[in-house]
């Protein structure tokens, strides 16, 4: 029989606190395979999120309280930290000195449970840049005057995910401070960039050298800066190699389409008429295929051959039931494929989109391959 005397400290280390954190398999793998890469605990000052981030993944921490007593003990036979013990008073008992000892040095009433999550950048209070002047003209007292590092530190998101999202939001640096490009300005920049490429006889379908491209644009447009151009390249291009990229024409045409659609806000527009407007909003001689179906998730079609702009960010995000009600207020008979993009992001992992639809609505078969989504 092996025996250990179990002790618990009644005075604690005043300089440290000890917590238990679950290590999910992907984090365990990260710690096994790396020793220098980043691992940080982050919180956001604008929300209650507490997360652990590797360089590419984010896990949300949830405090799981329990009513048990969990003691973290140090086995003094192993004693990596060279702890030593003395009796409080010398009683002449040799046995006490040579006992196997487990000394508890902390009690935990909870564990942190980690679950993989998508990191967040809160851009609500960041200043917007519309390109009027390349200065802090948009800065006002209500916006955050942060450097990029401050924003990274205050965003509960891993660094790789941060930059993917940052470019997607149109984030850029103006006078060392973070700004978000307005949609109108992004459209203007894209229009300008493609026009310059065409006028310089550069094939916009080819791989483009990043440095040359940025220099070319900066020379011709003084409202640009390096950071804005990097954002445009990452938002609307794919990096082929370290120094070259290729424009994503599907994404660009979709961007112009959504901006054109947004201009008609609140009004039904004829599909053919819209296609003409969309085409004319693109730079001259920029030939890309246009298909209204590419804009799914941004419109509904309550009347045959007509579409209505839907700003998905205006719909409820926390309550799916309310979101369905809002969508049915726009159209009572949704084309199945037009409807899916509005709810796809809210389908829980492992669930099928149809099971979510059946919970809040009905799926009606029209022809062999055509379905409608209608209210219950």
């Amino acid at each position: 029989m092996v025996s250990y005397s179990v002790y618990q400290q009644i005075t604690n280390d005043p300089e440290h606190t000890y917590k238990l954190m679950q290590l999910p398999p992907d984090l365990l793998e990260y710690i096994t395979n790396n020793d220098k890469e980043e691992l940080v605990l982050k919180s956001s000052i604008t929300s209650d999120n507490l997360v652990v981030c590797s360089n590419s993944k984010t896990w949300r921490l949830r405090q799981m309280n329990h009513s048990n007593t969990a003691l973290i003990c140090d086995n003094l036979n192993i004693n990596v930290n060279n702890k030593f013990t003395d009796p409080l008073v010398e009683t002449g008992d040799q046995q006490q000195q040579f006992d196997n000892k487990l000394v508890g040095f902390s009690q935990c009433s909870y564990e942190y449970e980690l679950s993989s999550t998508e990191g967040i950048i809160d851009i609500t209070d960041l200043p917007r840049h519309s390109g009027d002047q390349l200065s802090d003209d948009t800065l006002n007292v209500d916006t955050l005057d942060w450097s990029l590092q401050q924003l990274i530190d205050n965003s509960p998101i891993s660094s790789q995910e941060f930059f993917t999202k940052w470019y997607e939001y149109g984030g850029c640096i103006i006078n060392d401070k973070v700004h978000i490009l307005t949609n109108e300005f992004i459209t203007e920049i894209l229009y300008g960039c493609i026009t310059i490429l065409i006028s310089e006889n550069i094939n916009y379908n080819d791989d483009i050298e990043i440095l040359n491209f940025i220099q070319l644009i900066l020379m011709q447009d003084e409202t640009m800066n390096q950071s804005i151009m990097e954002t445009i390249i990452h938002k609307f291009g794919h990096e082929i190699k370290e120094d070259t990229f290729k424009l994503d024409h599907a994404k660009i045409s979709k961007w112009f389409g959504i901006q054109q659609l947004a201009k008609s806000s609140g009004n039904l527009i004829n599909k053919k008429e819209f296609l003409l407007h969309w085409k004319s909003s693109l730079p001259s001689f920029y030939n890309v295929s246009l298909d209204i179906q590419d804009l799914r998730g941004n419109y509904c079609s309550p009347i045959e051959d007509k579409i209505l702009y839907v700003n998905a960010s205006d719909l409820a995000t926390s309550n799916l039931s309310v979101r369905f009600v809002q969508l049915f207020q726009l159209d009572k008979n949704w084309n199945y494929d037009d409807f899916i993009p509005f709810i796809a992001d809210f389908v829980p992992n492992g669930k099928k989109v149809d099971s979510v639809i059946l919970k809040y609505a009905r799926k009606k078969k029209i022809t062999k391959d055509k379905y409608l989504i209608v209210p219950r």
């Binding site: 250990y4 710690i31 192993i78 013990t85 009796p87 008992d93």
Partner: protein
Amino acid sequence: MPTAHIDYSTAHKILGENESGSGLVEEDRFVSTPYGLSIIEIQGELTLPNQVPLKENYSEEHKEYFQNFIKVDDLYDAVKFGQIEYDVKDPKKVTLFIGKSQRLLGSLVDLDTPLAILRIPIKKDSSDDTNENIKILDIIKKKMIFKQRPLPIM
């Protein structure tokens, strides 16, 4: 603290080591990790004395009570609240004797999700700019858990 770095160098080392070849004697290997840490979980609360008895009050009569108290690293007071016993042939069954009248039957269980023990520096005030990182001290893969009600010692 919007961002705090976590030092996981020890954890990386632990995960890279061959567990069976950790060089520990068999008895220790069952109750603690190669880095010497373990978790004991008991249902309910553990009520311990708040402070150690005054040395001046020591007498032969109170010897046994005084023997329960030790000083760790000359800094912290600790009290013995029990004795853990297990058989090396069946280390999954652990018994915790509390005092002379109670025993708890428990088990050594593998954790579904390993636990990291984090050591977090306490900042005394906002101007405290000590650069000590949060550190993962150890990774615990099993713990001793005592779920049952205490049984009398016959």
